[in-house]
Amino acid sequence: MQQAIPCNSGRTWFAPTAASNGVVHVTVKDRPSVDGPSTSSSSSDGGGGGGGGGGMRRLVAENPVLVVGRRGCCMCHVVKRLLLGLGVNPAVFEVAEDAEAALVDELAEIAGGSGVRQQVLFPAVFIGGRLVGGIDRLMAVHISGDLVPILKEAGALWL
């Protein structure tokens, strides 16, 4: 269904046409506003709770890389550009302001796994179904050279 394929770092990402190349960028909106590429995935109903039910959980599980951020957030953009620059096509979930709080809770639960709640800050990055952290953490992991291995492990990168 969804898989990331390696691409050259300079390549910009455009919303795919159906399943032509098998790459999917999920942008689920909880409001029918015009903002960015349109979604081609139906994995989430985009309800007020930010995905509703198991939607979020499924997103996290099914995407090698998932970025959850506020709509129009520039830090989210930074995360996206960093990942794209590495050759990764992240799935991006943009949340509206009023849905934030609920989503934070949900994500914390998902990330906690065994019930331990982690603090979730936006933009939040999930790799291989696990919460890596916010931009702080992402930068640190990248500088220490650990990011690319994690990405490869999650199947987000081939090389």
Binding site: G72, C73, C74, M75, H77, V78, V79, R81, L82, G85, L86, I135, D136, M139, A140, H142, I143, S144, G145, L147
Partner: protein, 382 residues
Amino acid sequence: MLQGPAGAFHVISSPNSMSSASAQFATSRRMGIYEPNHQISMWGDSFKADSSQNTGASTIVEADAKHDNRLGDIPRESSGPSKKYDQEAHKPADKVLRRLAQNREAARKSRLRKKAYVQQLESSRLKLSQLEQELERARQQGVYVGGHLGDSTLGLSGTVNSGVAAFEMEYGHWVEEQNRQTCELRTALQAHVSDIELRMLVESGMSHYDNLFRIKAIAAKSDVFYLMSGMWKTSAERFFLWIGGFRPSELLKVLSPQLDPLTEQQVVAVCNLQQSSQQAEDALSQGMDKLQQTLAETLTSDPLGASGVANYMGQMANAMGKLEALVSFVNQADHLRQQTLQQMYKILTTRQAARGLLALGDYFQRLRALSSLWAARPREPA
């Protein structure tokens, strides 16, 4: 010399002859009627009386436009002028009159200009001393003054941003300590001290950088634009400014040559670090561009104001929110700098790290010195 009130009398005289000539003046003015003969004879008298007179001879001219004056040609410089005057007094002298009138006019204008210039100088001087006083007062309060005073940070009106002032002071101390540590490192490396001692110096150096990022974080909350402006740095340093500080990749370029010899493993690690920091930098830069773009978009949505005040306020609130993001950017940039330094520390041996820190400290010292030199360079007069 031309002196006296404009248009009434023009006396070209040397100091010596002044008193005698002026006495003659008074008389002729009161008379009100210009009689050439009388005038000239007065001259003659005055000159005779003051035979020691030479250059800058007194020339008495009655500037009375009512009368059709006919003056003899009055030589400006003469010795023993009496005879000459008698001879030339009766020559028709329209040209002379005209010339004299022009001279008077020129002299008058010159005096007016001089007066205006002097007034300007006086008021400038006053203003300058006022400014100096304010500056001194502000400096004593530890307020940051210098650079772009027009900023909202603070003006000379005395509104103090204490966060900025505190940072300025702390940063000043930080630089001093930095210089001291750099010297210490230099001495230690030259003296080939043991690794243990070097390690202590290196760890001090690393935690010193941590201090910098800490005080910057506090300042960012207080006034992010101040940090971003780089006004707390010297001018040459400012040239290299990237999101409120130095570029991590630049830093590595400065360090790398100083670290040889490196093991192969280290070479790879440094290379990877170079690449990672560059990638992170690029991502942050792109984020900044996006921020600029969205901020601009927020502010340009409704130039006609057609959507009303509420909408305007909404836009402003929106824009304010966007500006908040700048704090994050500065923090992330500093975080990147810190991470880069720490990663280098992990890759290198103690001795290499010491050399690296020395190279960095020395580099920044030179930049600051360059800024001073530049500021003090001789400039062509405007």
